[in-house]
């Protein structure tokens, strides 16, 4: 028994060490964001310093990062609403049809996951340019919906498949139309799954960089593009961009807390239940 406890403690400590190393860059970023530049550039690195939140204020308010935040929010929310509502209906259809053709379509969707995004970014760019949609919200939203769709459908399908078949049959016997079975029976049952899917596609949309870089302009720039392009002309550049980076990260941390029980399903979807 003693031996066992010792192994457990050792294991725990080494895993803690791994986690600590893993989190170092994030912690360092947070520290940089509340340091004065003098402290940030010191060698050896300073761990004790007078914290300041001045740069957080500066970057979000004075450097107008709030503007990019609005862009990010508009684009992500519109993407989620569109792709989840289409995806849910498609997923419901897939979960009730179990024939060869729909299986083929499902795997076709999965195959789209492996497309190099850059290959899709080029035609999207050319199309948007010829339609004059560069630097508008719709171009970005449409592109994001298109790349999110396979994911939403697969994830929602994994929730619908869990619904017992008897429930549908009972509803049909009680005289529900096909639409009522979907709206009144299936949807309420999978509501938690709906939230999980929405949050995941929110994350995907919020984090997306390549399409945002190509399709947005000065008026519609999202946060990732804004921070990547944020120039080094400012003397406080380090502290400012660290503050912006930390601010961008906060909503994600909140999302993660909300999603913790579902992370595996969201990420490995289809892996455990083919």
């Amino acid at each position: 028994m003693r031996q066992r406890d010792k192994t457990q403690a050792l294991l725990f400590l080494s895993l803690c060490a791994f986690t600590a190393v893993n989190l170092t860059p994030v912690i360092w970023g947070v520290l940089t964001s509340i340091k004065h530049p003098v402290d940030a550039f010191s060698v050896p690195p300073k761990l004790i310093f007078a914290p300041t939140f001045e740069f957080h204020w500066q970057v979000w308010v004075e450097k107008a990062f709030w503007h990019y935040l609005i862009n990010s929010v508009v684009i992500s929310v519109a993407t989620v609403v569109t792709s989840v509502s289409i995806g849910t209906m498609a997923a419901y259809g897939f979960s009730r049809m179990r024939n060869q053709a729909s299986r083929g379509l499902l795997f076709g969707l999965l195959a789209m996951r492996m497309f190099p995004h850059i290959l899709l970014a080029i035609p999207f760019f050319v199309l948007a340019k010829s339609l004059g949609l560069i630097n508008t919200y719709p171009a970005m939203i449409l592109a994001l919906v298109a790349i999110n769709q396979p994911f939403t459908i697969w994830l929602m399908r994994s929730f619908f498949v869990d619904v017992p078949h008897e429930l549908y049959e009972a509803a049909a016997i009680d005289g529900c139309s096909a639409w009522q079975v979907f709206a009144r029976v299936a949807l309420p049952v999978v509501r938690p799954g709906l939230w999980v899917t929405a949050l995941f596609s929110l994350l995907l949309a919020y984090n997306e960089f390549l399409f945002a870089l190509v399709l947005t302009g000065p008026d519609t720039k999202t946060l990732p593009v804004a921070i990547a392009e944020y120039g080094g002309e400012d003397i406080n550049y380090w502290s400012l961009s660290a503050a912006a980076a930390v601010g961008i990260m906060l909503p994600i941390v909140a999302c993660m807390m909300a999603l913790q029980r579902h992370l595996v399903r969201g990420l490995a979807l289809g892996a455990i239940k083919g």
């Binding site: 725990f12 895993l15 690195p45 492996m114 995004h117 984090n207 990547a228 993660m256």
Partner: protein, 268 residues
Amino acid sequence: MLYPLGYAIWLSLYNYDIGSGARDFIGLGNYLALLVDPRFWDTLNRTILIVLAAVGLEFCVGLLVAYGLYRLTFGVRTLNLLMFLPSIVTPVVAALFLRWIFIGRWGLLSAALISLGIFPPDFLGNPTWARITVVLADAWQFTPFMILVLYAGLNTVDQSQIEAAQIDGAGVWMLLFRIMLPSIRPLIIFVLAIRLMDAFRFFDTIYVLTSGGPGTATETITLYTYALAFRLLQIGKASALGVLTLLVTAALIALMIRLIYRRERGAF
């Protein structure tokens, strides 16, 4: 999704300059030009090298940590959650965090080494180190994903089988390699395939970390495509490169699945 793909293939057959709008049909000319372009082969080799190194590292570390978590009897959920953070942070932001670790002189790593009296290499400026840094960056971001999936997989292994092996005197490592790994083989293939695909189109982090530099030392195929399309404005050639990337990825994955199945057949 199919429409843009078709459009991309169609574009790849043209010599299309988006600046002037000139567009001539040149058939497979773009593909031929790429196939004799040494930069294409360099980028392809480099990409494959970086991808294999990163995914290999992720899998080994991921498996080790996942198995550690599996054997641990307490605090697993908190640790798992904390470990997972790097995977979910916006890739651009994650890359910035890493930049502050690796950048010359002021970065945490360099500063720490200097204060220990070691002169650090320029992690982002030296071609070899830059490649290592990029691999580490990818590993940092995606190992947690491996851990999470493999940990979930290990938990699905039949408990009675494990007990039987323990009674037969199997050690900790024997248990892992002889009993648990074979029984989650499909999951392993799946997660490796997913990671390979994603690593192949790895863009955000490299773009922010090194932009392919120094020179072209860390330029992957996606970055090259991006440069062709949006810097040099050769839309046709860039589309052709994108189609080639798709073919290479598909071939790589098909090869991997074949290899794994063959080994399985050999074992019986």
